[in-house]
Symmetry: C2
Subunit: 470 residues, 2 copies
């Protein structure tokens, strides 16, 4: 029996395991879910151990633990560092879900639940592929190190010190990432760039308490008016970010690069229907794909103040709050952008209120990989085998903080090889994962591991000599 035959025979079990995994509400951002995070980490460690003779450790961090595993039984073969994450986004707003986010439901070939697509479904794939190799051949075709973190959805704050402290342990030829959704479900693609991110929370305070809007209204600053004015000042009327210096470090794309994006199949009508808006929107002078991939953004993620309940409460609110995040492109740096945002907020506070700013979350540099990288070439070849068509080169608007850290600290590139798809509503209500993609992913990862070794043996020897050593 080959590994692929084994996987076919155990088709249903993979799905059942995913359902079990998704039932653990591993929301990393919310302290109430600390216990669930520990349960999810334990679940991953146990499943790695069940897959075969993998040396598994739960490695603590100041936040949630990293589950690490390694099998190094192929001395002449290269080493892949497999990356994924077991934490998920909060399920809010709960009332928009058609089924319980943590009780996965199968509808029309799609599994619905928080984290099914980002990243629990995709990260189960390498575990299952390892099991198939061990069960049929007793060994993997190359060396594999598994690194599953629990803080991706909060910007991987402890990954950098973790990598720095474990440089030798994590040495590898290439990162193969189970995270980083594919562009389309019907258009195989490899990702050559992703955006960075930086987040800032801020609050406006007026009076010392909510005031009666009749008694005081008109004579004391309303925190919501001030918040609206401040937020409105962040963009100009045409949709550009209005913060001074915001675009200064953006690297211009070559004509050829822009042409490559323009030549990708992109159906505007389909896009509009998918997101449910009547017309395109965004920074003037750029196409939708350019706005998503190569231009930086500033987006409010949440804003609130005053009475949010049913009916009415006639108050002049004294507090308003907002959370924003910027997506960054080469060569923007999170620290520079954070400083620009903070300066803008401080210099635009309306009269009668005070501002407080907090920025201790979410920072990651943008990332790029050469389109000639052997790991990427392997991915393209495998995708062509699985899908019977050429894999296009695309970019990603989202952020994978890990990839830039792997590059900077371990000296290796990351190949995104996830089988979730960008439209699967991760971070939104009714997140789903296409079940056929689970099986395609299992086949692709099996083929990748089988074919990566022979391809890169020479390259990897070269690469290894350049990797930093503590």
């Amino acid at each position: 029996m080959t590994p692929l035959e084994y996987l076919s025979a155990h088709h249903d079990r993979s799905l059942q395991e995913l359902i079990e995994f998704v039932r653990i509400p591993s929301v990393s951002t919310d302290p109430h879910h600390r216990g669930d995070m520990a349960r999810a980490a334990e679940w991953v460690a146990a499943h790695l151990r069940q897959a075969g003779p993998i040396d598994v450790r739960s490695m603590p961090t100041p936040g949630h633990p990293v589950i690490y595993g390694e099998w190094l039984g192929a001395p002449d073969a290269p080493t892949l560092l497999v990356y994924g994450h077991y934490d998920v986004q909060p399920p809010d707003p709960l009332d928009k879900w058609l089924s319980d986010p943590f009780e996965p439901e199968l509808r029309h070939g799609r599994l619905y639940g928080r984290g099914v697509s980002d990243n629990k479904g995709p990260m189960l794939i390498p575990l299952t592929v390892a099991q198939a190799f061990f069960a049929t051949r007793g060994a993997l075709p190359l060396n594999v190190k598994f690194l599953f973190e629990g803080e991706e959805e909060i910007g991987s704050p402890n990954l950098e010190p973790f990598l720095a402290a474990n440089l030798r342990l994590l040495q590898a030829d290439c990162v193969l990432s189970a995270d980083g959704a594919m562009w389309r479900s019907d258009e195989p693609s490899v990702t050559i760039a992703s955006r960075g991110v930086v987040g800032v929370d801020f609050s406006i305070t007026g009076a010392n308490r909510n005031l009666h809007s009749g008694r005081y209204g008109g004579s004391v600053a309303n925190a919501l008016h001030a918040m609206a004015e401040l937020v409105a000042s962040l963009h100009s009327a045409d949709g550009r970010v209005a913060i001074e210096g915001f675009y200064d470090d953006v690297a211009a794309l070559s004509e050829e690069e822009r042409r490559a994006i323009a030549e990708l199949p992109f159906d505007e009508a389909r896009f509009l229907a998918e997101v449910g808006v009547p017309s395109l929107f965004g920074e003037p002078g750029f196409s939708t794909l350019e706005r998503q991939w190569i231009r930086p953004t500033l987006e409010l993620n949440g804003m609130w103040g005053g009475y949010l309940g049913q009916g009415s409460q006639t108050v002049t609110p004294n507090e308003a709050h907002a959370k924003l995040s910027c997506r960054l492109v080469p060569d923007q740096h999170p620290d520079t952008i954070r400083a620009l945002v903070m300066r803008h907020l401080e210099t635009h506070v309306p009269a009668g209120v005070s501002l407080s700013v907090r920025s201790d979350r979410h920072a990651a540099l943008p990332y790029r990989i050469s389109s000639e990288h052997p790991g990427l070439k392997t991915a393209q070849r495998v995708l062509e085998q699985v899908y019977g068509k050429t894999a296009v080169c695309v970019r990603m608007g989202a952020t994978l903080p890990a990839s830039e850290l792997f590059k900077r600290l371990l000296g290796i590139d990351t190949v995104f090889f996830s089988f979730s798809t960008a439209d699967e509503d991760f971070h939104s209500p009714n997140e789903f994962f296409r079940v056929h993609r689970l099986h395609e992913g299992l086949e692709a990862w099996t083929r990748y591991w089988e074919s990566y070794g022979p391809t890169v043996r020479t390259v990897s020897a070269h690469r290894r000599s350049r990797a930093p050593v503590p």
Copy 2:
């Protein structure tokens, strides 16, 4: 024993009854409190019955019931219609309360709890005064009709049809209102005007769901940006309401009227310290008292959208919501202002989103009473007896929808004779009621009932002949 001696002797019981009354969380705006509203109505009816031979009825409305009671045993004396309300504002934000809003706590001579000041403390005063008269004299010195509604905090939506359906039943010479807080606790005053109100709720919708801010950010309109832009457009930079036509119907005050306001004792430093802001704020060209009393306002009462939880969720929110209310002055009309607000919102919706507006709550005309009205003169005389100083004429920024309805439907004026004070944080956390004001109120209402009859006998005969009859 005189009624005043009786009240002195039963000093503590009045406070205990108030505590019992406040324990019922009669939040009229929130459907979850429907049962509590019924309990509060029952409580009021039972206490009216206990006060003496009052004919008490619970009269249903499409919302919460009106508790009505009458004693008409003084055929030669005038008739007062006593008004108050048993419903309260929501206690939100709960985390700002130092004690449970529905478990009243006595601290430094103040009773803290939701509704203690607005309006449960003040409305218990006429009940207790009636009891004192019946217990000591077996009769009241004039005819009294009691009308306690349960919808004041939601704009008295059913009061108008209730009055229209009960014109003959409610006929009286004057309304004496237990609602309508006094300006200062140490400065006796009578109120000659109050502002009207109109409320509008609106929502912004962009995409068909919250979107991943990395995948989609920059290429689809963010509902929070649009909301901020729309809300910011409602005021000009100098603090004026920027809605076209908003000030068109505002009746200008005479020089004399403005001088009367300017001559009132008002300590700016004390005001700033009380609300906890560093500097005055508001429409240019007007003093703080003018901004609160004679100028219309537009205030956001609540605004929210996106992720409001702990930590972060990197979404491009597709929905944003807001609640606003305007305070109106003579001769503005709620329908006109509502239409102007809606037209402004509709014509200022930013690109890429759609707007929905709802306005089915909170509308009341502004109100005025002549400073020569005999009921007002009685109030001034009684206040001088109780406090030993002259009662000044003031205005009220807040709204008592009832007063304008009584005028329009029953043809009678309303004298505000509440013993709560404007600084007692009703509609805010830590609402309180000064216990000494409860006792001053009991004395003042007793004196009012005793002295109103002789004063107005002639006037009332004249007035009665003009009252509308169904």
